[in-house]
């Protein structure tokens, strides 16, 4: 009973943020001279209007869910992993190269490619954790900056050593992966692939992990009060490394899923231009790092994006209105995070003076 109440209370703030986001969008629509009701109706149709659009939204949500889960887990442990994008790119690249060059039956290569993606993302994230543990470098900064290294490394790999030379277009991309290795589509003729099932399973698994296991308990206590965790015998460095590996692994999995399920090759810029990773971070913030909530928020954000595309197709209102809504959402969510961060710092200070 209590838990239901608490969950509901937890929902109030994100819903309020969404509402204010939609209000801001309404103003933007008015400014460009559109009809609010019609525009939002088109947006709804674009996201959920028919089965095709709906599955399209879910397909877009897939990498957002996975990247978001990774960020959520690190948040739960009290660490800022802002490196989901780089981890995703390295995951996608590794998956593509494994899928292209590993011999064997299709299903085997597919699984190996997914694992390669998870490992690449995990190792990249672990590297940031190691920099913190070894040199005390701030995770927020290292994870953020490691994104650039990963992005340009990926770009280089597909511009030179592994560039697709078969096609006529001189695109920075790998050759296409063999069809037997692809992640299966869930419905004939739709974009939605098995990666979505993996993402939902991951959300449930992460929920189970954080809430039911001993390690998950330690991770949550560490995030909630590091001193309390240390006092109780939780080893911070070990837990940080673990949560960073899992976090990066999930982002890597997101990249692998996109490569094996949607693009069938690694194309430079394709993972970052859609800003899946950043949407994932937003989903986490909206859901306050709750794994199942993150999945729901990710679908919501994906719907906002696919909806905006539908809106642009059928009205004179430009796609950017969707970005306005998302920006306002971000603003509110980050204000809330910033506020609780400040509050926590203040508490720490006042604690320090009373000791």
């Amino acid at each position: 009973m209590n838990r239901v109440k608490e969950t509901l209370r937890g929902l109030v703030q994100p819903l309020l943020a969404v509402l204010i986001g939609l209000l801001a969008g309404a103003i933007a629509i008015l400014v460009v001279g559109g009809n609010i009701v019609d525009t939002y109706a088109e947006m709804w149709k674009g996201a959920f209007g028919n089965f095709y659009f709906f599955t399209n939204t879910l397909a877009r949500a897939t990498p957002i869910i996975l990247a978001g889960l990774g960020v959520a887990l690190a948040f739960r442990a009290g660490f800022f992993n802002m490196g989901a994008e780089g981890q995703m790119i390295l995951g996608g690249l590794s998956a593509a190269l494994t899928a292209l060059y590993l011999p064997g039956p299709g299903w085997f290569v597919c699984i190996a490619a997914i694992l390669a993606g998870i490992i690449a993302g995990g190792v990249w994230s672990l590297f940031a954790g190691w920099l913190d543990a070894r040199f005390g470098m701030n995770l927020l900064i290292t994870t953020l900056l490691l994104n650039y290294i990963a992005t340009y490394f990926g770009g280089y790999m597909v511009s030179y050593p592994f560039k697709d030379k078969t096609g006529s277009a001189a695109m920075a991309q790998t050759p296409m992966i063999d069809q037997t290795v692809w992640l299966p589509k869930l419905f004939q003729g739709m974009g939605l692939h098995a990666g979505f099932i993996i993402a939902i399973a991951a959300a449930i698994l992460i929920y189970w992990f954080t809430h039911k296991t001993v390690t998950g308990y330690e991770i949550r206590m560490l995030g909630s009060n590091p001193s309390f965790a240390a006092y109780g015998g939780v080893r911070r460095i070990r837990m940080m490394m673990l949560s960073m590996v899992i976090s990066g692994g999930l982002a890597g999995l997101a990249g692998a899923g996109e490569v094996l399920g949607t693009q069938y090759r690694f194309l430079d810029g394709s993972l970052s231009s859609a800003s899946y990773a950043w949407s994932g971070i937003m989903a986490t913030l909206l859901a306050r790092s709750h794994p199942l909530g993150t999945a729901v928020a990710a679908i919501l954000l994906a719907a906002l994006q696919t909806g905006a595309m539908g809106m642009e197709r059928n009205t004179d209102v430009p796609l950017e209105v969707g970005s306005v809504i998302q920006a306002v959402l971000t603003l509110f969510v980050s204000a809330q995070i910033g506020y609780s961060f400040l509050k926590r710092r203040k508490e720490k200070k006042s604690n320090a003076t009373t000791v």
Partner: protein, 499 residues
């Protein structure tokens, strides 16, 4: 009558914090408001100070009915309040803190010299001198409190409410505070002192109002009552007298040898500490907080590594062991700061209770949720912890109830050695009784207990041996049976001679 509060009732939803309370003040008296945690003392005073509004009832100042919507309205009627947690700006000077809100100005610019002169005059007038130019952050807590009182006086208060004023003070500072209150009362100021320390009440108060469960259970003249009668009125029953059988110490369970720790600014936090806790005894560490006690606890518990020396627990050198291994080897720890070390506020009561037990209550990496719930619920019952349920977040527990939860958790570790740092800080008499009884029971069963407390009475009551710390060193050690409060106070203040 200077002040009358009549038929005051305050409800928060379905919860009644104050029920039909009558409270009055005579001019120039010191009036103690006593009661256990949650008895409604602070609520009543917050209404008098305009921070809350009564659901019903009237307040009269000098016979005139008033109602305060904000503290500034209460101040205008001559009511001032000093809160338990000081509301001062540490980076500003004493004078700036005192004149805040009514700063003297010259041509619209804050006149610091005039402010300092005012503060000097104020201090002289009331016999509480302060250095107006000193930064508040550099003043000891006793001086900070004096600044708070001067601030209230500067605002022109005739009625001064002090919420738990002695909670953070050293015994000497408490004496000084009580003396100051008495002399101010002679000058016509009226005090309300909220406290649960009954000895202080007997020392300073003229009249006493006792609250229990939001109702008045007694209004007494201090000279006609006793500590026993007051505690009976507070708790609603006779307190059991604790009998403490003589200690039969066994072999050493904790040995601290030549421990050194460097602190901030080239000062050492711990200098060559040697000490020992044997099985079946309580060793009390007295000292003004900030003299190395916290660091010593952290070194013993494995939270900080010493720069020199070693710690032996049950005969094994645990100096460089990780915390978990030390705990599993036989250490439990009631930490001195429950919010910083003892709990995670946004985790549930159950999750907070699980800490340290979580490796035991597992099956193949999964937490045995049911067993954990049963365990925590048994503590809730045994220590009568007031909480919605085991799923309530710890932040919704009052400080005293959270302390009970932490104490229960550490008692349940069932270890041969226990660190009890400020084990009863902020808990009510009933709970204090339970925690003290548990500590003694553990001792009688043969465990060694290291008790750190800023309450001298607690140290004297429970300890078999007393160690006094001063500036990171052991200033003296004495058997509890022979120790007097004066001796310990002297050592605490840096009186060097060994006793």
């Amino acid at each position: 009558m200077l002040l009358e509060m009549e038929h005051i009732t305050k409800k928060y939803g379905s919860f009644t914090a104050n029920k039909d309370i009558h409270f009055n003040l005579r001019e120039g008296e010191i009036h103690a408001l006593v009661g256990e945690n949650g008895a409604g003392k602070t609520t009543l005073m917050r209404m008098l100070y305009g921070m809350e509004q009564p659901t019903s009832g009237t307040i009269k100042v000098r016979g005139r009915e008033v109602s305060f919507a904000t503290p500034s309205q209460a101040m205008a009627s001559g009511i001032g309040m000093v809160h338990q947690h000081f509301m001062l700006f540490p980076s500003f000077t004493v004078a700036e803190n005192i004149v805040i809100g009514r700063e003297p100005a010259a041509a619209g610019v804050f006149d610091r010299k005039k402010a300092a002169a005012q503060v000097n005059e104020l201090g002289r007038q009331y016999g509480m001198p302060v250095d107006p130019w000193k930064k508040v952050g550099e003043c000891p807590l006793g001086l900070q409190q004096r600044v708070e009182i001067l601030k209230v006086l500067h605002q022109g208060a005739d009625i001064i409410i002090l919420d738990e004023p002695s909670a953070v003070l050293t015994p000497l500072e408490v004496k000084e505070l009580l003396a100051n209150m008495k002399s101010l009362a002679k000058l016509g100021k009226t005090f309300v002192i909220i406290t649960h320390k009954l000895q202080e009440v007997m020392d300073v108060a003229d009249r006493i109002t006792v609250l229990r469960d939001g109702q008045v259970t007694g209004i007494l003249e201090a000279k006609d009552t006793t500590v026993e009668e007051l505690s009976r009125l507070m708790v609603g029953r006779e307190l059991v007298r604790m009998d403490k059988p003589a200690s039969v110490p066994g072999e050493a369970v904790l040995q601290v040898e030549a421990v050194q720790l460097s602190g901030a600014k080239d000062r050492s936090a711990l200098k060559d500490i040697h000490m020992k806790v044997r099985k079946g005894e309580v060793v009390g560490i007295a000292g003004i907080s900030g003299n190395g006690q916290s660091e010593l606890i952290q070194v013993i518990a494995g939270l900080r590594k010493p720069d020199g020396g070693r710690v032996l627990l049950s005969g094994q050198d645990t100096t460089n062991w990780p915390v978990r291994r030390i705990r599993e080897h036989g250490l439990a720890h009631i930490p001195e700061d429950r919010y910083m070390w003892g709990a995670a506020k946004d985790a549930s009561v159950k999750e907070n209770g699980l800490m340290g037990h979580h490796h035991r209550l597992q099956k193949r990496g999964m937490i045995k949720a049911k067993a954990a719930k049963v365990m925590v619920e048994s503590w809730i019952k045994q220590f009568s912890i007031k909480t919605g349920s085991a799923e309530t977040k710890a932040q919704f527990l009052s400080g005293g109830n959270l302390q009970k939860l932490i104490a229960a958790r550490e008692f349940a570790q069932d270890t041969p050695f226990l660190i009890a740092a400020e084990p009863t800080r902020g808990v009510d008499i009933g709970a204090m009784e339970t925690i003290h009884a548990e500590l003694l029971r553990k001792r009688n069963e043969g465990a060694g207990i290291l008790l750190i407390s800023s309450e001298l009475s607690e140290i004297l009551q429970l300890s078999d041996r007393i160690i006094v710390m001063y500036e990171g060193e052991i200033a003296g050690e004495l058997p509890a049976a022979e120790a007097t409060e004066e001796q310990i106070s002297l050592l605490m203040a840096g009186g060097k001679e060994r006793v």
